[in-house]
């Protein structure tokens, strides 16, 4: 299934904040651009490709299912993006359980990406 790719706020997401892989790429590109090794346009192309690759990988390579439970502290819906802040949340996946005191969930509308 091929997604219609739109560089919306969705594409910011994976490069954003603390997605390790996205952050590492952004840092790498920033360094290379600031030293003149890489042109800004090309860096941007890399990021665009990263979004595509990341999306595709998540769709095809990852099969795990997770359940989340917690207290909803804040909810926000803006620009088709849901932001939840949970407190005392429990994340259960098939082989692991994670507990956090506070977590932010940012979710973009999946329908915006499918044709």
């Amino acid at each position: 299934m091929r997604l219609g790719f739109r560089p919306t706020s969705f594409s910011l997401k994976y490069r954003d904040q603390r997605s390790s892989i996205g952050m590492c790429l952004t840092e790498t590109l920033d360094e290379m651009v600031s030293t003149g090794t890489l042109s800004p346009e090309l860096a941007y192309q890399v990021l665009v490709q990263f979004d595509k690759s990341m999306t595709e990988a998540l769709e095809t390579q990852v099969k795990s299912k997770v359940s989340v439970k917690g207290h909803l502290h804040t909810y926000r819906f803006c620009d088709n993006v849901w932001t939840f802040i949970l407190q005392d949340a429990v994340f259960k996946s098939e082989d692991r359980l994670e507990q956090v005191k506070r977590v932010k969930i940012v979710a973009c509308d999946s329908k915006l990406l499918t044709q």
Partner: protein, 338 residues
């Protein structure tokens, strides 16, 4: 499994590198730069723990073209390290400025010859990175950039106003030379310079880029958000009681939207937005969690619904960063109690 996450990340990395290879060639940039990008990226991921240990790339089923020894993770980074020492010197003291001149379409001056002034950008640019962002923003024609949200303001280029003056003055001289009206030269320059500045200023306001501090902008944003919300309220299930959603206010939008200012003066006629209610709470939480990174989940949502104070959502294709670990999921269900 951590290994699985590493494998996925490696796969993504390889996929990206192989897919941008053509772009690099089109831009006339050599494979060396591409390899450097790959190596740097990988090193960083290793350092922050996103990738663990030895991953066998050959085992991954995908279409990345197998190429250089950089792929072989079993080889410590000795060879590449040497190569980096030389390019480092070159990188630190580049013989020429950035290959592509910073293309800043200064409003009011559509003369394409402006772009060929190589020393211009370096005079006023606070940092090359912000310039790059601006040029990317302006070229790409969209507000988002690949860094954090402040870009809408950076693309505003407040410094550009002063630059306009400098450039205008610089440009006026050839005009002056060719102009027959010597008597009115200064007048001409000043007025046109001023005009251009005014035009630029009005351009700003009409463009609406600057987050206005006077309250009128706030109203606009609030209204549009409310409209957005009402539209969405119809579309989503169980989600059409606007009265409950006090939290959905203009104060703190998500990624990619300009932040409306918290102004003190203009709130007289409107119900108090309670903008600051959560700030203290957030700060408190931040302090506690400061030791490790903030836990974060980035995903897509299929459905978000609510019954009274019980929220349910289905998410998919997400990356979770919890307890300093990255976990990926294909599907997730959430049940929250508000």
């Amino acid at each position: 499994m951590a290994n699985n996450v590493s494998a996925v990340y490696i796969h993504v990395l390889d996929d990206v590198i192989s897919k941008v290879r053509d772009e690099f060639i089109n831009y006339g940039v050599g494979e060396g730069v591409l390899n450097e990008l790959q190596a740097l990226w990988e090193v960083k991921m290793r350092q922050c723990g996103a990738i663990s240990g030895n991953i066998e790339r050959s085992a991954l089923p995908k279409n990345a073209a197998p190429i250089t020894p950089v792929h072989d993770l079993n080889v410590p980074y000795e060879g590449p390290a040497e190569e980096y020492e030389t390019p480092t010197a070159e990188m630190l003291f580049p013989p020429t400025p950035l290959q592509t001149p910073i293309q800043t379409p200064l409003p009011g001056t559509n003369d394409p010859s402006m772009y060929n002034i190589p020393t211009g950008p370096s005079d006023y640019a606070p940092s090359p990175i912000s310039d790059i962002r601006n040029s990317i923003d302006l070229k790409a024609g969209r507000p988002g950039s690949y860094m954090q949200p402040p870009s809408p303001w950076m693309s505003q280029r407040p410094l550009g106003v002063d630059v306009n003056v400098a450039y205008d003055e610089g440009r006026e001289e050839p005009d002056r030379g060719s102009s027959h009206q010597h008597a009115t030269q200064d007048f001409f320059m000043n007025s046109s310079g001023k005009r251009k500045r005014d035009d630029y200023a009005s351009h700003i306001n009409s463009g609406g880029y600057i987050p206005q501090q006077d309250g009128s902008g706030d109203v606009t944003i609030e209204l549009s958000l409310t409209q957005l919300f009402h539209l969405q309220g119809v579309a989503n299930e169980d989600y059409n009681t606007p009265g409950d959603h006090v939290e959905l206010r203009a104060a703190t939008p998500s990624v990619g939207t300009p932040k409306p200012s918290k102004n003190d003066a203009g709130e007289d006629d409107e119900p108090p937005l309670n903008e600051d209610d959560d700030d203290e709470l957030d700060d408190l939480d931040q302090e506690e969690e400061e030791t490790n990174t903030q836990h974060l989940v980035l995903a897509l949502f299929d459905k978000v619904s609510r019954t009274k104070s019980r929220w349910k959502c289905t998410l998919k294709d997400g990356i979770m960063h919890l307890n300093n670990r990255d976990i990926l999921f294909n599907k997730a269900t959430g049940e929250f109690e508000f």
